[in-house]
Symmetry: C2
Subunit: 338 residues, 2 copies
DNA sequence: CCTGGCACTCTTCGCATCCGAGTGCCAGCG
DNA sequence: CGCTGGCACTCGGATGCGAAGAGTGCCAGG
């Protein structure tokens, strides 16, 4: 078990290292923090912390830097979430308030988060399955070609082409449209499959094929793979990563381009509350030298999607967590209003 | 005026430098290319080329590297466009053929282009104003809230919320929808403003406000700033940029995040044929050490948007141009089919 | 006009050296 | 028992020097 002072030493090491980006030694520590003990004592504490795996030396005769395990302890026990200042809150609100539609909200959020944290921001669009249906529309583009448009309460609009097996009359179309909406409008998307399963039964034989096709397209839209979208920004911040650019930055950029990887990353994060994944805690290898701070956001009490940032393990955790949390809250509010 | 051989020397310098990324000297040149003259002669030629500003020395006693002006001459006079091989063509076609909707087409195109050229790919969505209206739909989400959906022949779908000044009945809505479509369906977007300007006159006083609002929203959608979208990819390729990472890569990433900058960049490029902008020819300062190769693409003979790549000035121009041209052609085909 | 030769310029690299930061350990003190 | 000052030690990074090598410019001769 680590004594109180050793925890303080660890905290001091993390803070200094995050600030200076350089290994921190015992002398510098005692000078910059009021630990009330001498460097020699701190050295003993550091040796103990190193034995436990919380810190490490890049080389003999260099200072110590925190390990992933050290950051983990820091985040869990030694540091809270730094709240945003009042001006910062106002700035966030002002910035987000101008958004005109969902795309705009997400785009602004990404920008904001990237600026606040000076890291790479990732914002997921509201998940379809966790949203509520506002409206389903069917348009006939051609006699045997329909367009299916889904609109959610969170402002998402998805469209799909549907090629019908046979021409589909305007009357049947109106009928289907009305029946569809009466069944699913106002309901959760996750309930949609159940609500529409017997809808084809109500139609004549010749139209049944088309109705079935429309319904299966509708359901396809809700399949995991397709329904998730996200936006990233602030990649220019990667250049402030460290001195050993290419090798670190490369896999990160690759990961960011693979939406699948990112979605999995966000998906693995806890469903409620803020999640911090540090270095090797990330399953994806390319992100082993980064930390991911993410949190769910939503219009009501419930999360409809996640957002977060990706940055070097050496990041200002309290500040980053504060920014991420604050942004998530305001985005939730904006969505609730629209 | 430069003699034929001097041009050959320049061509050889460009080719070697692009291959090795290192300044090339007179001796290496005579060894790798059959110039039929001695290094000393080549040195004289190089001195002349340097006087003319086509090549430069990083330091005294280093080899030469091409300047922007040198690349320009190379592209204009010394090198053609390298056509894709048959297998490459097939690969392109296969890769693009699987796309299910416009987003998918664009996403696949970006990926493909990034992979083929190993550079950053930029693909603009088909411009609204240059497309044809396929359908305009109006949905009543609430009594005084409409959604306007625009569908183009290129598969683009744009939606906008419209808050009406007064509730708008279903009958009026159907009327407006029908009138709108009969006027604009099949017409070019650029003609839409003219075609709808007197549409409000046909409605009762109480509905006229709403109709006007709808029309102005429709027109807003076509405004330059909003109508253009683009997608980028392959940013991981930036890591192969050169040895002097951070300083070069940073502004490029920043430029790529500013869609406005990119759109302007593509917009400045010639409207027909392939455009190559080399280094300082790019108006945006952050891209002064990059070259942009872009070309229009379209479903018919006419370009509806542009695509291209951004890479180091030291790039394989013939190969890159070949890839860009080939991809643009196939994308045009795909769009024409859908 | 081309060529071989030659002197000159710089950059790069290896090597030896020095300096300092930081450590671990120990003996002594409260 | 824990803290402290002292001390020897290690090692990385900076500095300086010299040799090597690549490449150039220029010149005289074919």
């Amino acid at each position: 078990m680590l004594s109180e002072r050793r925890l303080q030493v660890l905290r001091a090491i993390v803070q200094d290292y995050v600030g200076t980006e350089e290994p921190v030694g015992s002398k510098a520590l005692t000078e910059r923090h009021n630990l009330g003990v001498s460097p020699a004592t701190v050295r003993n504490d550091m040796a103990a912390l190193e034995d436990e795996g919380f810190i490490a030396q890049p080389h003999t005769s260099a200072g110590r830097i925190p390990t992933d395990k050290g950051y983990r302890l820091f985040v869990d026990k030694l540091a809270g979430v730094k709240p945003m200042t009042a001006p910062e809150r106002r700035a966030i609100q002002n910035f987000l308030d101008g958004a005109v539609d969902l795309d705009d909200v997400v785009a602004r959020t990404v920008r904001l988060l990237a600026q606040l944290t000076r890291q790479v921001a990732v914002v997921q669009y509201p998940s379809l399955t966790r949203s509520t249906v506002r409206h389903v529309e069917l348009l006939a583009l051609a006699p045997a070609r329909l367009m299916l448009v889904l609109i959610t309460d969170t402002g998402r609009v998805e469209q799909r082409m549907v090629d019908c097996p046979a021409p589909f009359g305007e009357a049947s179309l109106a009928d289907l449209r009305a029946r569809l909406n009466s069944r699913v409008a106002g309901r959760r998307f996750s309930d949609v499959p159940r609500l529409v399963e017997d809808l084809a039964d109500a139609f004549e034989n010749e139209d049944r094929g088309t109705v079935t096709t429309v319904l299966s397209t509708l359901l396809e839209t809700l399949v995991e793979e397709n329904e998730e979208r996200l936006m990233i920004g602030g990649t220019a911040n990667l250049t402030r990563f460290g001195h050993d650019f290419p090798l670190v930055i490369r896999p990160v950029l690759e990961a960011l381009e693979e939406q699948v990887v990112l979605l999995k990353l966000l998906g693995e994060a806890g469903d409620s509350g803020m999640t911090v994944r540090i270095g090797h805690e990330n399953a994806y290898e390319g992100l082993n030298s980064t930390s991911v701070v993410s949190v769910g956001y939503g219009s009501g009490g419930e999360a409809v999607a996640k957002l977060g940032v990706v940055g070097p393990t050496r990041m200002d955790y309290p500040g980053t967590m504060g920014a991420v949390r604050a942004v998530a809250r305001y985005v939730g509010q904006i969505l609730a209003e629209s």
